[in-house]
């Protein structure tokens, strides 16, 4: 192995790739060759660092200089100054990482200080396309330990004692699931990985697969040993091309090293893995629908019982776990039950990864111990709400979850606390909303999503969610009565009680939780015909403030339907009967004379 004097880590996650990090890598290589240092400095494409809002991110070691929002034009400067002359380019550094002219260790910055990385341990640290780097950080050590020192029963015992719960959202104890499958009669069994991360605004699983694919492969092999399966499937969204590609590279490398395939570590345990691509159906994240889809059919859910652990893929016992759940397994085996049990809250051990998005400064990926308060996540890690706006609510659990209002910002987040306040952990999407977000509109957005994604197999979901959406549309159009609100609640409870699968049973949650905390907003839409947040178009009017209007006619010329008229140099007027509320006039006006109310 070549010794190098510096490492340049460039984030290759989807967020940074979208903002051009691939070009940076080529540019770094070109610039390093130009100064003749291509052999002394290594450029590494890593997984996600987490701070996506500041992408593309580049970290230069040994100094640990954290450069943010780097463009190809900046690369030459970093190479000439930092690499050649040893002078850190201060104006490109992430400003939070500099204090009194000194570079702080990354773990002291607000964004990282409150985090604890287990599932994301290797993300942004290693080159995910190189198995040697994973092995160098104790990779596949847990698998070796399990295969050579432990019986399958002991493995299941450890996972049970660790109290690890499914990170996909349901929170079912992982060890119990494994135990059910292990107790089935010997014969063909399967291990499945659910990487069909469909919640809008959630990208935890993708980041793990992009940044540390081997941890999932290792954990699946451990699961295979524990339940007696020799074949695994990873069901992953086709929308994640980078993750699919890295996963395939990782599987091929593991096979080459004999860490997958026949007689792993010289034992008589054999295990193989195959990737199956999803095709854009949200319901396939539900475990029974996922299995139907792997079987090559329409991904419709099946009634449970029988549970997959008894009758799963092709009718054989199958366990399905989420990506993040798997990423925890090798660490639990290596560090022991006690270590894991000391992290988190009484009933939820360990950490949880959240994809932080929406109206927040530090959009990105964070991993915190269970029991961290929402305030810490939003204000400290997230850096608060931009543009001086006020925090209104956080949405967790995607289309199956609910909203946590500002009054509950000090709630300690774990599986049970979130359920008790009407939301749920979900897979980990955490969308922050400020005062400009209309809660009725958000509920409608999620219902539109479920209506679109309902597979149509059972009537409560297929018909019921559509009726709910119609009522919500009536409300946002200002045509609803209070009777509609009662019907909405009635429908929500009936669907929750009667739908076939998780998608339908949880579909009413966004409505129920916004009703619980923001019923006044619903009433404002229905009774006062007003949208307090100024989002619902049909309840808005664009108006020209005569005192501010200078009569320049710019708005009238922009209006696509000629709804604005007036005489030059005197105030213009909008004809409300013609206005289509497109907002073109408002963005055209240079005097801020147009308001919506």
């Amino acid at each position: 192995m070549n010794l190098v004097r510096a490492h340049i880590l460039v984030c290759g996650g989807t967020g940074c790739t979208s903002s051009g990090s691939e070009k940076l890598i080529t540019e770094f290589e070109t610039q390093l060759s130009r100064v003749g240092m291509a052999d002394e400095v290594k450029v590494v494409k890593t997984g996600c660092f987490g701070l996506c809002a500041l992408g593309p991110i580049v970290i230069v070691y040994p100094e640990g200089a954290f450069y943010s929002r780097i463009t190809p034009e900046n690369v030459k400067e970093i190479v000439d100054e930092h690499i050649v002359k040893g002078r850190i380019v201060k104006h490109l550094l992430y400003d939070e990482s500099v204090k009194d002219e000194e570079i702080m260790p990354l773990n002291d910055t607000n964004f990282y200080k409150h985090q604890m990385r287990i599932a994301l341990k290797n993300c942004g640290v290693i080159d995910p396309e190189n198995i040697d780097e994973y092995i160098a950080l104790d990779g596949y050590k847990a698998l070796g330990k399990v295969l050579t020192e432990m019986t399958p029963e002991q493995v299941i015992d450890i996972i049970k004692q660790s109290g690890l719960r499914g990170r996909g959202g349901g929170g079912f104890p992982t060890g119990l699931k494994w135990d059910f499958a292990a107790k089935q009669p010997k014969g063909q069994k399967f291990v499945g990985c659910n990487a069909d991360e469909g919640d809008p605004g959630a990208f935890m699983d993708r980041s793990v697969l992009e940044g540390d694919p081997h941890s999932v492969i290792e954990a699946m092999a451990i699961a295979g040993y524990a339940i007696g399966a020799d074949q695994g499937y990873i069901y992953i969204r086709a929308e994640y091309p980078i993750a699919v590609n890295r996963l395939q590279i990782a599987i091929d490398q593991a096979k080459e090293y004999g860490l997958l395939g026949k007689n792993i570590f010289g034992t008589d345990f054999s295990f193989d893995l195959e990737i199956r691509l999803g095709a854009g159906a949200f319901v396939c994240g539900e475990e029974t629908a996922l299995m139907t889809s792997i079987e090559g059919k329409r991904g419709e859910p099946r009634p449970r019982p029988p549970f997959p652990a008894v009758k799963g893929l092709w009718g054989k016992p199958t366990i399905l776990n989420n990506v993040e759940t798997y990423a925890n397994i090798p660490q639990i085996i290596l560090n022991g039950v006690e270590w894991f049990n000391n992290i988190g809250t009484e009933k939820s051990h360990g950490t949880k990864v959240f994809a932080l998005g929406g109206k927040i400064k530090n959009t990105g990926l964070v991993e915190v111990p269970m029991g961290t308060t929402l305030r810490t996540i939003v204000e400290d890690i997230g850096g608060g709400i931009p543009n001086g706006k006020k925090f209104k609510a956080a949405q967790t659990g995607g289309p199956s979850g609910g909203c946590i209002p500002a009054s509950l910002i000090d709630v300690e987040i774990d599986y049970d606390s979130l359920i008790s306040i009407g939301s749920m952990m979900g897979s980990g999407g955490l969308i922050v909303m400020d005062e400009d977000s209309c809660m009725v509109d958000i509920a409608k957005f999620f219902l539109e999503f479920t209506v679109d994604e309902s597979c149509g197999k059972c009537a409560p979901c297929r018909i019921g969610t559509r009726r709910m959406l119609e009522i919500l549309t009536k409300i946002t159009d200002g045509k609803a009565t209070m009777k509609d609100l009662d019907n909405l609640k009635l429908l929500a409870h009936s669907i929750k009680a009667s739908a076939l699968c998780g998608l339908g049973q949880t579909a009413p949650n966004p409505v129920l939780s916004t009703l619980q905390y923001f019923e006044d907003e619903y009433i404002a839409h229905i009774v006062d015909k007003k949208c307090p947040a100024g989002v619902c178009k049909n309840l808005l009017q664009y108006k020209i403030v005569p005192e501010k209007c200078i009569g320049c006619s710019l708005c009238a010329r922009q209006c696509p339907v000629n709804a604005i008229s007036g005489e030059i140099k005197s105030p213009f007027v909008i004809d409300q009967s013609k206005c289509i509320k497109c907002g073109a006039c408002m963005s055209a006006c240079k005097k801020q004379a147009i308001v919506k109310e």
């Binding site: 979208s18 809008p200 998005g357």
Partner: protein
Amino acid sequence: MAKSSTIPFAGTKEQKEKLDAVIAKHKDMEGGLIPVLHQAQEIYGYLPIEVQQMIAEGLNIPMAEVYGVVTFYTQFSTNPKGKYKVAVCLGTACYVKGAQELVDKISQRLNIGVGECTPDGKFSLDATRCIGACGLAPVLTVNDDVYGRLTAKDIDGILDKYINE
């Protein structure tokens, strides 16, 4: 729902040969239909009824089953896509940052609805699920190019680039 395609199917001999090879490879694989459809869509760009027919015959499964699977999954399209595939992310993070305004603006400018293609085959418009670039919200992609942190005002500039190409 998008209008069904009026553009006639025009598959080439090379495409048919590629498809036949894919079918042969997956004929005995359990659950092989979805992988075949993925690759067929890569070959033809979309999955018109003619292609579905070839797959049904090749894999020896009923046409109804193939059609059922194709129409179930949103990734599979029975409509051709434009030369430039405009896709606006409607994930939650993008939505709360105003992605709907981007869709409206593009739809108005190109005079097509979501899921449709312009008559000259140049542009198609899709609303996609979260593409995971939430740090750049709101986001749209044109083929492989990603545009982030957008407002409706940026749309004309982006489309002009492709219109004038």
